[in-house]
Structure formats: C-alpha cells, structure tokens
Amino acid sequence: MRGPSPRHVAEMVRKERRQLLRDPRTRLIMFVAPVLQLLMFGYAVNTDIRDTATFVVDHDASASSRRLVEAFTTTGRFEVVGRSSRSADIPSALDRGSAVVAIEIPAGFAADLAASRPARVQIIVDGTHSNTATVALGYATRVVQAFGREQGRAGGDARVALRGIDLRSRAWFNPGLESRVYNVPAVIGIVVLLMCLLLTALAVAREREIGTLEQLMVTPLTPAELMLGKTIPVAIVGMIDLVLVTAVAVLWFDVPLRGSVLALLVAALIYILAGLSLGLLISTVSRSQQEAFMTMFLFILPAVILGGFLFPVETMPAPFRWLSVLDPVRHFLHVVRAIFLKGEGIAGLWPQYVGLLAMAICALAFSVLRFRKTVV
C-alpha cells in the first residue's frame, strides 16, 4: 500500500473547499452560527444566584421586619417581586413561578426581638430547581443569622455573639465565583464539536447516496486520500471557528485566558481532529444520510452530558465516569478550563492531550479501514 499522494489530497481539499464555500447557507452555519451561539449561550450559562425573585409576607409590618427584608435585598442575591399580608398568597406565587423564594415574618417579630425571646422567620424556596434552591437557602439562612447577631449585639451582649468560628472562604482561580468564567470555555468546546460533526457526519453518506462516491472510488483515489481530503478543510474551518469564539469569550465576556494561547491551539487542533474523525466514522458506517443523522443525534447528547459541560463528571456514578473517559468532550473541557482559569500548560495536561490524540487517530484509522471494507 503506497502512502497518500499529495496531489490527490490537494485535489480533494480543493473540491471540498469549493463545495463548502459555495452555498451561502452553509457559510452561515460555518462562520456565523458559532459566534451567534457563543454570544447567546455565553449569557445563558449562568448559575449565579443574583436577584432571586422573592415574595415577602410581612405580618408584623414593623421597623424591624422592614430592616430584615432590607438585609435580604442589600446582599444583591434577593429581589422583592411581591408583597402581601396573607400567607395564602405564597403558594400561588410559587405555583406560578413568579417567585422562587418566599419570606414570611410572623406577627410579634419586633416584640420578640426586643424582648430577646427567640423569634422565627420562615423561608420557603421552590425546590424544583434543587441547585438554586440549595444555594438560595444557604444565603437566606446566613442573612437571617447575621441579622440576629446584629440584633444581639445591639442588645448589649456583644461578647457572646462574637464567639465561635469565623470561617472565611476564598475561591481561587475565580474569586468572584462567576459561573460564566467556568462555563463559557466549555461552550467553546461544545460549539466547535458541533460544527465538526455537522460538517462531516453526513459528508460521506451524502456522496454515497447521490452516487458520486462510487465515481470517486473508481479513480486511483485511495480511502486514506479521500478521508484526508474531507478532514483538512473542516479542520481549517474548525480552527477558524475556535479562534472566533475564543475571541468572543475573551473580549466580549471577559473570560480570563491565563494559560498560553499555543497550548490552547494545540489542544483545539487535536480535539477538532478527534471530533471530525468521529464525524467521518459516523458517516462511513451509515448507509444513508438519515442513518448518519440519527447516529449523530445519539452521539452528541451523551457526549455533551458525560463530558462534564453541565454536570460535574465527579458527581456521576462510577460506571458513567469510566464511560466518560472515552468522551473527547470531557478531556477537552478539562483542558480548556485548566488553560483559561488555572493557567496550566501542556506539561500538566499531557494525559488529556495524549488521550485526545489517541481518539483522533483511532477514529480516523477505523473509518479508513471500515471504508475500505465496504467500499461502496
């Protein structure tokens, strides 16, 4: 078996490039969609608890109760969207979803505080979003405790209130604990993968369906040359997309890029190769575009979810964690997040680089072999 002929590869690359660039709708998908997606999703991927819609039922209507509500709103975490004096309004506000948190201050609240009798405040959260609920509950609890301490101090018993542990938390790599900084680099990975799959998964299946593949395969073109010809233009498009969306992330969303750009580009190139090799593999094992499409559907969702984009890989049950080792998304997300936030370099991330490279090579080799066996 001779090696790929550069002429044949160049000829195929030229043909693919012409086909990719000809249709304005394809150009739209290739260059506009990724940027647009990052702009939209960059704003969407935000789990920060800020201005949580809060409903207040204040049976006390005293200066103290108003100060407690103020203590909530001044944190910036809670925003009062409705007030009422009837407890029955809470269920309807939460049912409709117009509020996520409800605070109910009982009658006699100010009197209890003044008399140093234990006062109670009820906090209700909508648990349907368990994550937000956990965090909102935590914040609310601390607001109430701090308010209580302050009241106690005002009551003269400062020594007691100051006792105990003073836990100070500091977040490294992302001191503001902004979820966007963590999620936007991941969106880059997902958007680029999607592009690679969209451009390759139907590529071979389509040529098979319309008969041009058979015409190509009676010329001296080898399967390896065909695959390279299909890979190179898409890899270039992928890299352009990566640079575009990275620019949006850094310049528009102010995500810090602490590591080296070179390390990012190398990782991206390997990842893109892995992604489009998988796309080509899907395309070669499918007999029709429809089949390719369905296989792609089946691949993308698990790849995105097991990759740790929306849910940390560590919290998954063990079998899913093992399975995720085969997911290029998981490795790339690890790499981009480490490069962006921690400033890691290739040295610290080599297992991920090697893993991605191995996937790219295996997928490409397997599609060439598989293609040769089924020829047309």
Partner: protein, 370 residues
C-alpha cells in the same frame, strides 16, 4: 383540507416509518433509553467534596472541627498538608476541591472570641464551589454553636425556619428527570421531521405527490400525525420511567400533560418540517435543525440555567424555543401539581408557535411548487 387525503398521507408516512427500523428505533427506543441513561448519570448533588486539611493547631479542638466536616457527609479528607503553601499544589492539580486551613492558636482563640479558619476553594466551577462554601458555613456555624453552647449562654435570638417546597429533600433527580423528558423530546421532535420533506424532494417523490390533488396543508398535516403519535407515546413512557424507576413524584394531571404535550409537539415537529420544506436539502436541514434545537433546548429552556438570570434580550429570545415552555410544563405538572389555571400562558404561546410553524411550512411549500 379533506380528512381522507390527510389520512392517506399519514398512512403512507406511517408505513414508511414501519419499514424503516432505524427511524422507529430513534422515535420509540432512544428517548426512554436516554432518560434512563441520563437519569442515572446526572446528579447535581455535591456530596463528596475532596478536602485537603492543613491543621497547624494540632489540638483536640481542631481535630473535632475536621471531624465535623467529615461527619457532615459532604466532605471527604483526601490529603493532610504539611505546609500551608502546599494548598496551591493541591488545588492546582485538582486533587482537592477545597482546603481547610486551621491556624496555630485555633483552640485558644475559640474560647476568647472569633477564631479564624480558612476555606480555600477551587472556584473554577462556581456552582460546585458555591455549594461547597454553603455547606462549610453551615458546618462551621453549627459546630461553633455546639462549642459555645457548653458555656450555656449563646441561645440564638433569631432562628430561620427554612423549607423547600415541591422537592423537600432538594434531590436533584426530581429536577433532572422532568426537565430531561422535555429536553429530549424537544430535540427529537425537530429532528424527526427535519428530513421528511427534504428527503422527498431529493428522491423525487415529492413531485409525484404534489401532482395529485392533495393540498400542501394535507401533506403537512398527514406527515405530522404519525410523529405526534410517537411523541405522545414517548412522553407516556417517560412518565412511567420517571415515577417507577426514579421515584419522581407526579402530582398533576396526566391528561393535562398529554394535552400540553400535543400542542408542544405540533410546534416542535412543525419547526423541523419548516426547515425541511424551506431548505429542501437533507444536509442543510440537519445542520440547521441541530444548531437550532440542541443547545437551545439544553441552555435556553430553563432546564439548568435560570431564564430569569439572562439579560432581557436573551430572555425574550427564549420565547421562540418551544422547549422553554415545555420544561416549565413538565416541572410544573410533575412536581408542583398545578393545572391549566397556572399553565394557560404556556398553552396559549405554544399554540401560537405551532400555528406559526405550520403556516410557515405551508407557505414556503407553496412557493416551491408553483
């Protein structure tokens, strides 16, 4: 529009589906499979936080504080650090997600006044980090109450009485499963129909079809019908899986869910068909359908990221995606058990989207044939 001709198209579509085992698999088996798969895979529950401890105090009191962290069940000690600077390495390498730093003199200060303890957290994943900090704060304040209570005097004057409605244990599975049903069906619906019309144009059977007296609306309606049936079947199956396998409560009315699902499916399937009719190419229809459904269904639907957190413009944009309404609907019917008196805006807007999608499909269709 005659019922007979619509039925003829629907029957043809159903027959083709029946002979196409892959489409059938996609329609019937994939959604339940994905729901089971992700139902197990996805948890938000942060309950095994890798903690490295630097204890410079080395007293009984400091050991008890570490014990309190471990006993909470949320933290697991993976490393004991010799030197404070080792904390950098532990977090950088990802071996630990948080470092608990107890300075020398902790026990002494505890008796006298506030005793500073530091928690260093890997903030990369803000979500996990925030929850870890929440847990640590809770543990620390409970522990200090226990320690100071021994001295009799520190009865807190203000007690928050917190509870979570609809999901009292704050189990993330109760949130994930209903949302997942909505997301998976949303993606699937557009994909099922994205190829139907384009395929017939590419294969030339559409010219044959439009040369018969059948109207555009009949073709569109007939093609929608079998997929609507598949979608409804999938949702029933998903309710079964969610309640029986994952013990997710189902508090609302099944009939209402099916009715809302039908309207939603018409919008989502109609959108896929619009792409198919407008683009007339399987490759392009696929590309547009995936770009327009996959990530929006995951990210703009409120499944994970609260819509209220998004900028105003983006919030308005989410109204264009049927998935957004359907996530609200499934969560509300599964967990809140509310009825049409709460969900009527969703029903209304979904109906509008469905009509728009079908009207647009018929419109682009007509232009092509004329």
């Amino acid at each position: 529009m005659t019922f007979g001709r619509t039925l003829a198209i629907a029957r043809k579509e159903a027959l083709q589906l029946r002979r196409d085992p892959r489409s059938l698999t996609l329609g019937f088996l994939i959604p339940p499979f994905l729901i089971v798969f992700f139902g197990y895979a996805i948890t938000f529950d942060v309950d095994d936080i890798r903690l490295a401890v630097w204890d410079a105090d080395r007293t009984q009191a400091s050991a008890r504080l570490v014990d309190a962290f471990v006993a909470s069940g949320y933290f697991r000690v993976v490393d004991r650090l010799e030197r404070y600077p080792d904390a950098t390495e532990a977090l950088q390498s990802g071996d630990a997600l948080a470092v608990l730093a107890i300075p020398r003199g902790y026990a002494r200060d505890l008796a006298a006044g506030p005793s500073p303890v530091q928690l260093l957290v890997d903030g990369s994943d803000a979500n996990t980090a925030t929850i870890a900090i929440e847990y640590a704060q809770g543990i620390a304040s409970a522990h200090s109450r226990r320690v100071t209570l021994a001295e009799r005097d520190a009865r807190p004057t203000l007690v928050p009485d917190s509870r979570a409605w609809y999901n009292p244990s704050l189990d993330s599975r109760n949130m994930v499963v209903p949302g997942l049903v909505a997301v998976i069906i949303s993606i699937l619906a557009a994909l099922l129909t994205a190829l139907t019309i384009a395929r017939e144009w590419e294969r030339g059977t559409m010219e044959q079809l439009v040369s018969t007296p059948v109207t555009r609306l009949e073709i569109v309606a007939g093609k929608l019908a079998p997929y609507l049936a598949i979608g409804l079947f999938d949702v029933l199956l998903a309710v079964g899986i969610g309640t029986l396998l994952f013990d997710v409560p189902f508090r609302g009315s099944l009939l209402l869910l099916l009715a809302m699902t039908s309207v939603f499916l018409l919008a989502a399937l109609g959108f896929g068909m619009f792409l198919s009719a407008a683009l007339k190419s399987q490759v392009l229809a696929t590309q547009f359908a995936i770009v327009a459904t996959y990530l929006p269904a995951l990210l703009l639907s409120g499944f994970i990221f609260a819509i209220a957190n998004m900028p105003r413009v983006l919030q308005l944009a989410t109204y264009l995606f049927p998935a957004r309404y359907y996530v609200t609907v499934t969560k509300a019917i599964f967990l809140k058990g509310v009825g049409i008196e709460v969900l009527w805006p969703q029903a209304l807007l979904l109906s509008a989207l469905a009509s728009l999608a079908i009207a647009a499909t018929v419109a682009v269709f007509r232009k092509e044939v004329a």
